[in-house]
Symmetry: C2
Amino acid sequence: MTQAGAARPRRRNDPEAVRRRILDAAVAAFQTGGYHSTSTHEIMRLAAVTSGALHHHFATKKSLGLAIIRERVAQAIEDTWVRPVTTTDSVTEAILAAFDQISGSIEKRGEVYGCPLNNLSLELSAADADFQSALNEVFVRWQSAIGDRIRADQAAGRLGQFDADALATFVVAAYSGAMAMAKTSQSSAPLRVCAHQLKRILEA
Amino acid sequence: MTQAGAARPRRRNDPEAVRRRILDAAVAAFQTGGYHSTSTHEIMRLAAVTSGALHHHFATKKSLGLAIIRERVAQAIEDTWVRPVTTTDSVTEAILAAFDQISGSIEKRGEVYGCPLNNLSLELSAADADFQSALNEVFVRWQSAIGDRIRADQAAGRLGQFDADALATFVVAAYSGAMAMAKTSQSSAPLRVCAHQLKRILEA
C-alpha cells in the first residue's frame, strides 16, 4: 500500500482550519504592530484567505479582536501563569519560574514584543467597553489563580501572612510593568530585577 | 488709558503658539486614541491649523510623535515623579503621594486613559528604534530620580538597606503595571492596592 493510497483525502473545505489560520495570523500581527495598525487586508494576506472566508468567520474586525482576546490571549495567560501556579510546588516557585521563562525567551530571541494582554489592554481598554470587559476578565482570572494559590500555600504553612488578593494584584502589576519596561529597553533586565525583588518579598 | 489702548497689538503670526497648539492637540489625541489611530488631519482639525502650518513645524507625523515624547511625556514624568521625589521629605512619602494623586484624579474623572509614557511605549517601542530610544530615555530619567533619592534617604538613615537601583526599577514597574490594570478595569483600585504594598515594603 503506497503512502499516497493510505492518506485520507485532503479536505479542501475545512472551516475550523481556516478559522485557526485567521487567528494565527491576527494574533501575530496584533502582537507586533497592534490592533489598529493591522488592516483586515493584511490579515487576509497573512492567513492566505479570501475576504469571503474572513467575513464568514468574523463579520467585523472587532469580532476578530474579541476572539483573539477570549481565545488566544486568555490561553497565553493560562499556559504561562494559571497552570504553573496551580501545579508547581509553591506560588513563589511558580511566579519566579514564569518570570525566568519569559526572560529566557527574550534573551534567546533578542527582541521584545511584550505581553499580549498588556499590549491590547493599553491600546483598546479606554476606547471600547467590549474590549475593556474582555481584557479585564483575563486580568481577573490571572489574579484569581495567584490569589487562590497564595491562600493554599498559607493554609499549608508555606507562605507568610500576606493579604492574598492584594499580593496577587501586586505580582501581576510588577510583571506587567516590568514587561513594559523590557519592551521599551528591548532587554530582559527589568524582568530579572523585578523577579529578584518579588523573591525577597515572598520569602520574607 | 483704556485697556484696549494698553494691550499690545495681538500678533497674528506667532509660530511658537501654533507649535504649542499642535502639541496640545496631539498629546490629547494620542492619549485617548493612540498614535497610529490619530491621523494628521485629525490633529490639524483639533489644533485649528492648516496643513502648511503643521508641516512647517513637523515635517512628518513621526517628528511630531518624537516631540510629544521628548517634550510633553517627559514633562509629565518630571512633574508627577521627578520633582516630588527630589523635593518631598522622603522617597517613601513622594512615591505614595504620586500614587495617591493619580488615584484621586482617576476617582474624580471616572475614566482612566492610563500613563502616557506606558501607552506610547507599548504602542511604539517594538515598531521603531527612534521612538523606543526616546521613550526609554524617559523611563531611565524616572528610575534615576527615584534611585538617587533612595540613596540620599539611606545616607541620611531614613531608609533600610535596599539595592537602590533595583528598588527604583521595581517601583516604576509596580506603578506602570498597576496603571495598566487601572486602565483595563477602569478603576483606581489596582493603584491603591499597589501603593499599600509598596508602603509595607519601603517601611519594612
